[in-house]
Amino acid sequence: MQTLTPQRLRELDLKATDVREGIIRALLAAGSGHSAGSLDMADIFTALYGHVMRHRPEEPNWPQRDRLLLSCGHIAPVRYSAMANFGYFPVDELLTLRKFGTRLQGHPERVSLPSVETTSGPLGEGLAQGVGMAQAAKMDGADFRVYVVTSDAEHQCGLHWEAMMTAAKFKLDNLLCIVDRNFIQIDGSTEEIMPLEPLADKYRAFNWEVFECDGHDIAAFVATVERAHAAKGKPQVVIAKTIPGKGVSYMEGDYTWHGKPPNAEQAKTALAELAATRERILAHV
């Protein structure tokens, strides 16, 4: 990874705002979809596509690319918007989200859009597939890394823990799991519905290297990933503390925005807030 200069960081902060705008526009056009998680992962997806990952938007099937799996497929809008904003396809295509004939299916489908790496949506399945990809890299002597973005609530699925055991058994130090720790799920708070804490200790007990950071601080996230990459012989997890709906004031911290889109009026407010955010970043020299 290159050094993250202050100038580059500012560009990424602006890019994250673009990604959030894309999410709002896409969800408005779709009339359904998941707002809170999509918005709260905008900074991390921007960091991944903009700085962390080795990839070629113009050659999405480049064999040496790092693999990014979105296990919690319902926050597809953030991935689609990040991909569009980093040159995988035109930003306007975001407006086809969830519409008949689109490549941007409600949950990601690899056959429609190969650069999403795998079809996802049924929860708890991404890490297991990431384990397979990381193991294949080890068997072939390939040096790409595998990143798996997971929601916190999907840690309630048993398969995820099977994957955690397997990753440790095979010493997959080319595998990094990112947890969107926003503490919400459809029905409310994760800790009320099925407590996950102490989540970091659970990963440690499964023989993982564990890191925690603020999921909205791109510089902190990048630094954390760099430290994680130094781990040898163990898979790594970054538990990223996030605020659901981040960037849109009336959505922030409100679990009821998990699975619904803004209406036209709400979207207008959201886009105005994001425009103000952009102005603030530009003014802050």
Binding site: Q129, M133, A136, G158, T166
Partner: protein, 338 residues
Amino acid sequence: MSDTQTLDRAAQAMSLVDYRDTANLKQLPTRNGFGEGLLEAARANRNVIGICADLSESTRFEALKNALPEQYLEIGVAEQMLVAMAGGLAAVGKIPWIASYAMFNPGRSWEQVRTIMALNETNVKIAGAHAGVSVGPDGATHQAIEDIAIMRVIPHMFVVVPCDSVQTKKATLALSQTFGPTYLRFAREKSAIVTSEATPFEIGKAQVFREGSDVAIVACGILVYNALMAADKLSRERGIECRVVNNHTVKPMDEAAILDAAKTCGAVVTVEEHQIHGGMGSRVAEILAAKHPTPIEFIGVDDRFGQSGDPVELIEHYGMGSTAIEAAVLRAHARKRA
């Protein structure tokens, strides 16, 4: 018997062994053919690998495990993991064979099979061991008799049920070289080997093992032998000549062969070690109802669960022995004339 009459022309064309010669008929479990075929496929292509969920002896993974340990992964009792991890390996070019008892894979892992293998179009191969009531003493929990139904309903899936261990080896090799999500089903107990090394095998191509124009018996798996024995007896004792079709590929099914059998014979009996509901015979009925309505009798488990017992005893109890097939042929034959 074999010294009094040669095998019919269809059997000769298929290079079958003389299955009527019960004294000299070889018996081996179909799963042995999987173990041999997998090792051969893995030797030919280092991307062919095996992933095991703690059943290396039962599934016959042992040959691969011992000969090519670098192409073998053990992940413990975790069948959903088996499918999902294989999906990841396949995405990077591996050709993973994953094996457990059919009851657990695809039984336990069905949603992963649908999403990661089929919707996602990955080259993952499932070997479903211990299918059917002939698993025997282990009882109903371990006797998969719904697996064909849950696999044949999934788009893009290959579903193959070979008739003996020699054919299972050929099927394993052929499927290893064919891109696409795959379910290969086999059984625990030793069963009669009716095919020979020279018998052809092609995915999606049903085989006529015996010629006849009175009733067509369309069978798959180890019960193909029972179908042949029933046909032989009906010929000798009643002069009823059955065409016996080894319908090893349940999906994509050889529609032309099914239609030809129905048109030639005018009545059909389907035979499988599976629930009648949703199985191979149901697919035959779907084809014929749409394209050539024909009287059909179904041999299989009739909406019940299995139980502990001796394999042969269970096959008889659930109405899948050769006597039950003979009776079904007579019923079908009578309906044809009615």
